[in-house]
Structure formats: structure tokens, C-alpha cells
């Protein structure tokens, strides 16, 4: 990937639409536009109606064009945006002509990458751009807007400056010839470290909610055959998605429906009922059920008989639900179990609320800042473990100042990588490769 040449890509998806946007970025962006427009002048940041022509002088489209001069543009370079009629052949003609004039088709994420390289945004902001494009709910996108606006960067910058201050005080100890570190200084350094650790631990704990908000959760409906799993899925989805019948073993393939609960995309999976069977197809279905259980964030265990045992699995959160309430006269007093009738649609709200609570969705606030990518979590995690190791030096009776400083440096490195300050190129490539072309 070179930097310094001029790149072009449609930023709207392929297909027919009312408007398509083509974006050009690089030092030749304005020159290319001038060639397309027959030498017209454009003022900065003003949408201008213009007839744009190909190399042979044939009109490609008459449309709006805006020039954003660098460094005040998205990428920090000169950027041109063409708002053409949303016809794939027009878009293609623009892209081809621009490439013929010396532009190059952009790679995925290349516009954002340039923005990063030009220092317009840091790496967590770049990740927010990608997440914003992919986000499935207004809550998720609001949360990423905050990160893009610098909320996470600000927290990290404060962390960084506290760590640097701590480090320089520790390293100062290495260079004063006074023999041992004084008790009061030791105490004060230790307090500062503890304070920083609590920030890091808090940040680390935000990941579960951040991941939930941005990537959603998976809820698997599990139970014996014929207990009403498919009926429940249809009822939750509000549409007739899965086949329901009185014959046990109806569902073989798992069936998925995604619902937004409190802004979080929750994937519900209806599975083949659990029972021993000779039927090879049903057997495969049961195998798949177990596979889904493994990947589930939450399991809804369904029965239709209060005497039957609920599905259990250690290490997974499970909600026990008793179905077919409408068939029973007796009231059963067991608060740990949710009573519903999938058929008559009773108790479904209570179930939904339990799911929301169990997944932690009710704890999400768009006012908070969350870690949302694995990369972010890993960096904060390694920062945190370096700090815990540092803490042990204060707890032991010998204070190895240089090992202490080694760990603080390691924690700082983790933050630097997170912001992209010292990221090796391969990390950059990974971050930007997940984006789409045109971003």
C-alpha cells in the first residue's frame, strides 16, 4: 500500500439507488476533478453542480461535486466527493476514468487508514469508524459516536499520562544516589499505582457490555422434543418462522431469528429437541444443538411439565422456563422458574425482561464508554496484568525498582499500541483490513 498516490472508490453500496457517492483522496484529487470538469474551479467545501466528462469528452453525469481541501478533510489530504445518479454503470464510468487519469482503486479501509496516518484520528477512533458502519442499533452507533468523538481516547490519554508520571518518579529513583527509596515515597507511589489499577480494571470490566452492545448476544432455546421451543421462537419473533407440530422431533436444523432487545442485537436459536433417537437426521440435529449450546451467551431451558428436570450445564447462564401454562389448573409457586404459554402469548414479556437482565443489557448506558473490540480488550488486559505484577513488588519486602519500572513500561506500551502510537505495521493492517472499501 503506497501513500502519496491518489485513491478512488464508491462509498455507497453497489446497486441502483437514487444517489451514489464516489470519493477521491490524495494530492492529485483536485487535479483529477479539474480534468473531469474541463478545467473548472471549485471552492472549498461548497457543493457545486457540474458536468463531468470522460477522456473522450462524453458526459458521464451531471451532478453535485464537493471539494474538501486537506488538512481539513476526512483523510487529511485533498478529498473530492462526487454525488452521482445511483446507477452502477455511471459509478463504474467515474471510477474507470479516474483510474485512467492516474488514480488508483482504494483498498478496504484505506481512506480511514490515511486519516489515521495523517494524525486526524487514533487507532481506537478508527475502530469506532468501522464499528459505526456495522452497528445494528441506534444505541450501538451512539456509543461508537462517543468513541469516535474521542471519549475512549481521552480516558486512555489520561491513563497514559498518569502512567508516565508514575514511571518518571520510579525511574528518578534509579538516578539519585541516595541509597534506599524513602518509605513515604514508596507509599505514595504505591497509592498512585493502585489508583491507576482501578481505572484499568474498570475499563477492562466494560468490555462485556461493550461487546454485547456492538456484537450482540446469542440465546439458545433448549429442551426435550415437543415442549414448544419452535412455538416460543415464533412467539418471540412475532412471525411464523419455524414449523410447529405435535410430532416430537419436528425441528432438525436450527433456526435463527435476530431481535433487538434494548438496542442489543440478540440472536435466538431454536434447536432440535434433545432425545435419544435412531433417526440419523435427527441425531445430527441434536449434535448441532450441543454445538450451539457451546457458543451461547445464554440458554433458555424449556419444559412443559413441572415434574421434568431442566437442562443444566456448568459455566453457562440458564433461564428455566415452564411452558404450556394454559394447560395447567394448579398454580405452581417456584419463583426461579418462569411460567409461560407460548401458544397464548402469556408470560413472554417477563421472559424477555429476564433475558435482558441476565445478559446485562439493562446495565448499558449510552453515556458510558465501553471497550468494544478484542484488540482493545487484550491491550487493556495486558496493561492490567503488568500493573498487577508491578503491585507485587510493593507488597514484597524488597522493592526491585528497575523491575517495577519494567512492568510500568510494559503497561504503557500496551496503551501506546492501543492508540496506535507504537503499533507495528501488522496491527495497522489488521485493523484497517476489517473495513469496507470506500471507508
Amino acid at each position: 500500500m503506497t501513500f502519496g498516490d491518489t485513491i478512488v472508490a464508491p462509498t455507497t453500496p453497489y446497486g441502483h439507488s437514487s444517489v451514489a457517492i464516489i470519493r477521491i483522496s490524495g494530492s492529485d484529487a483536485a487535479k483529477l476533478l479539474s480534468k473531469l470538469s474541463g478545467g473548472r474551479n471549485f471552492s472549498n467545501r461548497r457543493a457545486t453542480l457540474s458536468s463531468l466528462k470522460d477522456l473522450d469528452g462524453n458526459l458521464i453525469d451531471r451532478c453535485l461535486v464537493t471539494v474538501f481541501l486537506g488538512p481539513g478533510s476526512y483523510t487529511g489530504e485533498d478529498v473530492v466527493e462526487i454525488y452521482s445518479h445511483g446507477n452502477p454503470s455511471i459509478v463504474e464510468a467515474f471510477v474507470n476514468t479516474i483510474c485512467d487519469l492516474g488514480g488508483r482503486l482504494a483498498e478496504p479501509g484505506e481512506f480511514t487508514r490515511r486519516s489515521f496516518l495523517n494524525g486526524k484520528i487514533d487507532l481506537v477512533q478508527a475502530e469506532a469508524v468501522a464499528a459505526l458502519v456495522r452497528s445494528k442499533s441506534i444505541e450501538a452507533s451512539r456509543s461508537q459516536q462517543k468513541v469516535l468523538g474521542g471519549s475512549l481516547s481521552k480516558i486512555l490519554a489520561a491513563l497514559q499520562s498518569n502512567l508516565s508520571a508514575l514511571l518518571s518518579r520510579i525511574e528518578h529513583q534509579l538516578d539519585i544516589s541516595e541509597e534506599a527509596i524513602s518509605l513515604s515515597e514508596k507509599k505514595s507511589l504505591s497509592n498512585l499505582l493502585v489508583k491507576i489499577m482501578s481505572t484499568v480494571n474498570h475499563l477492562k470490566s466494560t468490555f462485556s457490555l461493550g461487546r454485547l452492545l456492538n456484537r450482540g448476544a446469542t440465546v439458545v432455546i433448549v429442551g426435550e422434543t415437543n415442549v414448544g421451543k419452535s412455538t416460543l421462537l415464533n412467539c418471540l419473533a412475532g412471525l411464523d418462522r419455524a414449523i410447529v407440530s405435535h410430532i416430537p422431533g419436528t425441528t432438525r436444523d436450527s433456526i435463527e431469528v435476530e431481535l433487538l432487545l434494548g438496542g442489543v442485537p440478540v440472536l435466538f436459536i431454536d434447536t432440535a429437541g434433545l432425545r435419544a433417537t435412531q433417526d440419523v437426521i435427527e441425531e445430527e440435529g441434536v449434535r448441532r444443538t450441543y454445538r450451539h449450546i457451546k457458543g451461547a451467551d445464554l440458554i433458555v431451558s424449556l419444559t412443559d411439565n413441572p415434574d421434568k428436570k431442566h437442562f443444566t450445564q456448568t459455566g453457562k447462564s440458564i433461564i428455566s422456563v415452564l411452558n404450556k401454562k394454559d394447560l395447567r389448573k394448579k398454580k405452581i409457586n417456584d419463583k426461579s422458574i418462569i411460567h409461560i404459554s407460548a401458544k397464548t402469548n402469556t408470560g413472554i414479556e417477563a421472559l424477555k425482561n429476564r433475558i435482558v437482565a441476565e445478559l446485562g443489557i439493562n446495565k448499558i448506558s449510552t453515556e458510558d464508554t465501553y471497550l468494544s473490540t478484542n484488540r482493545q480488550y487484550r491491550a487493556i488486559d495486558s496493561c492490567g496484568s503488568a500493573l498487577s505484577r508491578a503491585k507485587t513488588f510493593f507488597d514484597s519486602n524488597v522493592l526491585d525498582v528497575e523491575l517495577l519500572s519494567f512492568e510500568i513500561r510494559a503497561s504503557l506500551d500496551a496503551i501506546d499500541t492501543l492508540l496506535g502510537k507504537t503499533s507495528p505495521d501488522d496491527i495497522l493492517n489488521r485493523v484497517f483490513a476489517t473495513m469496507c472499501v470506500g471507508k
Partner: protein, 625 residues
């Protein structure tokens, strides 16, 4: 005096700590060297404190020693007390320091120079450098005489445009009592070099007989002293104490009232001074809440009447210095041999140098020592040594010796000099070395012996002495693989508040416990003659080093991983004529800095002050394609 020859391989200008190392190593490597200096009786002179080594600097002296320099040897022969500093901290930051007999030190250095047949020592003042087609060709002396050579190393210390301040009094000098030098700065600036001013200070020298010694506290060196040089096989130095006293509030107030009379404060001194070795004016001003400061009374030589007052560097008028000191217990009737003073001098911005210390623009011209903006004997000697080796390599048309940041403090020193802006005199600190866990004083031999051998910096005898020490060290480390049984160690473990062991345990495992030291292990595990081949002065530190190797193993591994990551960048070379202005993605500031400094590798580029990671990313992308 020998007749002046007209053609040398290398001319070294200045016989301070940088100059003598440069001349000696080049001569030993077989080059014909002309060493020109202002005063034949000031060769290897210690301008300031009578001490060598100290935090981070002690490691440098060890490195100089493995690389064939003489500073360590001369210190071992002239030291009056030896002490390892930072003992309360981890073993990787322990640093040896010695107080020396200044006169003896000079004498020893002079004798090394005299013994060297390839050195022609010569008194004179160099005023210009001969340059043709961007290559150096020799020097011009005051009076117009020219001497030709293939390479020139400039090591003029504090002498270029040197101006001494004592209160309002100004004296043109390179050191008190020695003339300054003029001409070289102007000559080089006219050829495009960038020069600036820096300043430094020195404390007064006291008359021993005017001090009330009963009111001072003596401080001795170590009982088992460690030498600096691996060549020192027999070591039984004196252990002469220095003495400490404390300043008081009266002294503080006198200084505070007279701050305006200090040229360092009144803005009369142009250069920027060091932050870390502050003058007493600075200390009073910046730490105004401290009423007391510790001062050290150090003899300048054995039985010297002249006492160096460490910690009281000043440029106040002599009368104020006296009044302030006479307020201090023990100094009530103190007399001076010489007042403290400040000196300002020219230096050349070291970003004009390659990592070999050759100037980027004039081939064959090298700068070393205080002229590069550093402060300190050890920093100067280290650069002199590197410049001497590399001038030799230049004459041979061979590639230079470059030490990396993970290999030696000298590597850190030179890399910092050529990449960081010099805003104040540069002094080495432990904290400047990010890979300091690898840079122990006790493993200088392991770190550098290969390079030393590659460049033939030591003769066979010298190398063999070091190898013997290494063998002994390896034997000690190997014996730590043996196991220790509970009865041998549990009593010790209980005493150290560590959990006792239940079964035989490898010594290495025990040693990893934080409060256990190698001396706590039963002697029996070392019984198989481990370490017996080690010369006596190095036995103690070899055990310490063995302990560090085991205790730090995990950290050493992690640090080595960081080093490998850094090396990736270090191996990306930047062409010297690279056109930064043609890269659109670079910020204006980066373009300006890169064009000025012209880094040789991507690693250097990254360390230039003010360069952002984004700039480095852009540059790295341009270099790959």
C-alpha cells in the same frame, strides 16, 4: 621532541578524556596518530570532580574497558576509594564509582601516551580544518602551519570560545588557568555546521587546613572493592574517606539574597546549563523548601591540601561564596584555593553526526566528547574511543563499529546524541537506557567481547583474561542447577521469612525467591571448583552476576523480545539522499526534522524528538515501496 612529520593517518585535536582514548586506540590499531593539544601538562586532566564512574557512568567505564580503552585501568591505578552505588536497588542498576588521585590519574594517562610509538604528541592550537571535496585533509595550527592526514577527530571539550564567569568577573579561558581556543567554531560554521552555547559549573576548591574536620562525617568505600578494568588482576587500593557536611538555613539565605549576582541567574551566561547537576543557586531556588543540602569534601589527590566541595557548584561572586560557606558548620573559617565558577562554551549539534561519530557532510571528520554537547569524563572517553576506532576503520575503508541501545550504555549515549535535540548538557542516566536490565556492569564482558574481538580492540592476553572470568562465571551458573536439600536451607528460609522447602529443590528455583540471595545458598553446591579460575577481584561480582542471570531470567527474556521488535525497525535503512519533501503525507515539522537530521535507519527516525508515530508510519510505508 620528534621532528614534525607531515603526513598522518589520523589527527586528534585535544588531549582530554575523549582525545586520549581516540589517539590510543587508533595507535594500537596501527595508525599513525598526531595528538595536538593546547597544554602538554594537562593531558587527561580532570577538569572538575576527582571521581570516575557513578550511576550509569560506572557501566560506561566497564564498556570502555572491554573495548580497549584506558579509563578503567587508569582509575584502578589511581583510585583512593571504590564503592558500588545503588546497592539498595536491583543488581542490574548497581554502578561502580571511584574517587581518584587526579594528579596520579593524569600521570598514568600521560605515560600511556608516551609509551605509544604510533602517537606523536604535539603542543599547539588548531584554528582550522582542511577540507577538500567534502573530505577532510588535515588541520591548520595558529601561525599557519598545516598538518595533513586522512582523518581528523575534534575533541576540544569546553575550550572553544570558553568564557569563565565568577560573579560579574569574566575570563576568557578553556578551564581555570588555561587559555581557551578560537577559530575552529568559526571555520566550521562557515562550512555549514550548526554550533550553539552550553554552560556548566564547578565548585570551589578549599584549603584542607581551614576546615574543622571534627565537625564532618567520614564516608568510606567498600570493604571488598571492585575494579573497573578486567585487566586488573591484583587489586588492593587504598580506602581513603571523603567527608560529608550539611548546609544550613543561614547559608541558604545568603545565597538567596545574592541570586541576582550569579551570572547563571542574571542571564549573563548565554548557554543552557544542566538540570540534573544543578548549581547551588539552582538548588536554593528550586528546592526552596529544603534548608539543608549535603556537601561532600573530597581530596583531589592523596595528602592533597586542596579539597573539592562536591555539591556546591556555583558562579556567585567569590565573596558571596565565602560568606555562604562560612555559615556552614566545619567551614567557619574556610579559605579557598580557587572559587567556584561557571564556564560557557561552543558545542556542535550532534544531529550532524552519523552513529559512527563521523560528520554527515564531511567525510573523515569526527567529533567526540564535550564538543557534542555531553558532560562528564566517561561520556567523553566513550565517544573518543568510538571515534578513534571508527576513524581507523575509515582510513582502512572498512565499516564502523556501532553499538546498539540493547548492547551498551555507549550505544544509548550515541543514539540519543544523534537523534535527540540537545537542549542542555547530556549526562548519562540509568533511566535513559530502556533495556537497562540487559546492561549490567557485571556483564559488560559478555555483552561486548565479541565486538571487541571482531575489531581487534584488545590483544590476546587481554582477551584471555576476560575469557577466564567468563569461564568462571559460567561454572558458577552451571552449579546452580544442582539441588539443595531441606536441611541445608530451611533454617535460612525461615530467617528470611520464606516458606521452607519439603524436598530437594534446584538452587535456581530457590534463587528466584525475591529475598533469597546467592550467598544464602549452601556453599556445598559450588564445591566442584566453580569459579576458582576467577581472578580474586572478580569473584564477588561473578557471584552477583550469576544471581542476576537467574533472578532476572524471565525479565531478560521479555526484554530480549522487545529488542527483537526494535531491531526490525533498526534494520530498515534510509538512503542518505532520501527526499523527504516529496512525501505528501509527512507533516511540515517532520519534513524539516528528517531533512535536518537525516536519520540512517527507521529506528533512528522514530527516536528523533518531536516525531509522531504517524510520521514514522508514513516514512516506513515509503521505504518499503
Amino acid at each position: 621532541m620528534k621532528r614534525l612529520q607531515n603526513k598522518f593517518d589520523i589527527i586528534v585535536v585535544g588531549a582530554g578524556h575523549a582525545g586520549v582514548e581516540a589517539a590510543l586506540i587508533a595507535a594500537r590499531l596501527g595508525k599513525k596518530v598526531c595528538l595536538v593539544t593546547l597544554d602538554l601538562f594537562a593531558v587527561g586532566r580532570m577538569s572538575c570532580n576527582p571521581a570516575i564512574g557513578g550511576l550509569a557512568k560506572g557501566q560506561i567505564v566497564r564498556e570502555i574497558d572491554v573495548l580497549g580503552g584506558i579509563m578503567g585501568l587508569a582509575t584502578d591505578k589511581s583510585g583512593v576509594q571504590f564503592k558500588i552505588l545503588n546497592r539498595s536497588k536491583g543488581k542490574s542498576v548497581w554502578s561502580p564509582r571511584a574517587q581518584v588521585d587526579k594528579r596520579l590519574y593524569e600521570k598514568i594517562v600521560y605515560s600511556y601516551i608516551q609509551k605509544e610509538k604510533n602517537i606523536h604528541l604535539f603542543e599547539g592550537e588548531v584554528v582550522d580544518v582542511l577540507i577538500q571535496n567534502n573530505a577532510v585533509g588535515g588541520i591548520v595550527l595558529r601561525g599557519g602551519h598545516r598538518i595533513c592526514s586522512l582523518a581528523v577527530i575534534i575533541t576540544c571539550g569546553t575550550f572553544l570560545g570558553g568564557l569563565i564567569h565568577v560573579g560579574q568577573k569574566k575570563i576568557r579561558a578553556g578551564r581555570m588557568g588555561e587559555n581557551n581556543a578560537e577559530g575552529i567554531t568559526e571555520a566550521l560554521v562557515s562550512r555549514g555546521f550548526v554550533a550553539g552555547r552550553l554552560k556548566t559549573g564547578t565548585p570551589p576548591r578549599l584549603d584542607k587546613n581551614s576546615i574543622n574536620w571534627a565537625k564532618t562525617t567520614p564516608v568510606f568505600g567498600d570493604e571488598t572493592p571492585a575494579p573497573f578494568s578486567y585487566q586488573t588482576m591484583l587489586f588492593d587500593p587504598p580506602n581513603i574517606p571523603c567527608h560529608t557536611i550539611k548546609t544550613n538555613v543561614v547559608c541558604k539565605n545568603i545565597i538567596a539574597e545574592n541570586l541576582s549576582k550569579s551570572p547563571m541567574f542574571s542571564g549573563d551566561v548565554g548557554g543552557v546549563g544542566p538540570r540534573y547537576c544543578p548549581s547551588i543557586e539552582d538548588k536554593v531556588n528550586r528546592f526552596s523548601h529544603h534548608d539543608e543540602h549535603t556537601l561532600f569534601l573530597e581530596p583531589e589527590w592523596i595528602n592533597s591540601n586542596q579539597i573539592y566541595l562536591n555539591g556546591f557548584s556555583t558562579s556567585l561572586p567569590e565573596s558571596v561564596q565565602l560568606r555562604a560557606l562560612r555559615a556552614v558548620p566545619a567551614l567557619e573559617s574556610v579559605r579557598f584555593f580557587r572559587p567556584g565558577y561557571a564556564i560557557e562554551y561552543d558545542f556542535f549539534s550532534p544531529s550532524q553526526l552519523k552513529a559512527s561519530l563521523e560528520t554527515k557532510d564531511i567525510s573523515g571528520l569526527f567529533f567526540a566528547g564535550q564538543i557534542n554537547g555531553t558532560s562528564g569524563y566517561e561520556e567523553a572517553a566513550a565517544q573518543g574511543l568510538v571515534a578513534g576506532i571508527n576513524a581507523t576503520q575509515y582510513v582502512r575503508n572498512d565499516s564502523p563499529i556501532i553499538l546498539s541501545r540493547d548492547e551498551a550504555y555507549i550505544g544509548v549515549l550515541i543514539d540519543d546524541l544523534i537523534t535527540k535535540d540537545t537542549l542542555e548538557p547530556y549526562r548519562m542516566f540509568t533511566s535513559r537506557a530502556e533495556y537497562r536490565i540487559l546492561l549490567r556492569f557485571s556483564n559488560a564482558h559478555t555483552r561486548l567481547i565479541k565486538k571487541s574481538e571482531k575489531f581487534s580492540l584488545l590483544d590476546h592476553r587481554g582477551l584471555n583474561k576476560i575469557r577466564k572470568i567468563q569461564c568462571g562465571l559460567n561454572a558458577i551458573v552451571a552449579s546452580l542447577d544442582s539441588t539443595v536439600s531441606p536441611i541445608e536451607i530451611n533454617e535460612t528460609l525461615v530467617r528470611l521469612k520464606e516458606t521452607p522447602i519439603k524436598q530437594k529443590t534446584p538452587a535456581t528455583t530457590l534463587l528466584r525467591r525475591p529475598s533469597l540471595e546467592i550467598r544464602d545458598l549452601p556453599k556445598s553446591i559450588f564445591s566442584k571448583g566453580a569459579g576458582t579460575s576467577i581472578p580474586p577481584p572478580f569473584v564477588y561480582e561473578s557471584y552477583i552476576e550469576a544471581e542476576a542471570i537467574i533472578k532476572y531470567e524471565g525479565y531478560i527474556k521479555r526484554q530480549n523480545k522487545q529488542v527483537r521488535r526494535m531491531k526490525k525497525q533498526e534494520n530498515v535503512l534510509i538512503p542518505s539522499l532520501f527526499n523527504y519533501n516529496a512525501i505528501t503525507g509527512l507533516s511540515l515539522e517532520a519534513k524539516e526534522k528528517f531533512s535536518r537530521v537525516r536519520p540512517q535507519t527507521l529506528g533512528q527516525a522514530q527516536r528523533i524528538s518531536g516525531i509522531t508515530p504517524a510520521d514514522v508510519s508514513v516514512l516506513s510505508i515509503m521505504l518499503v515501496t
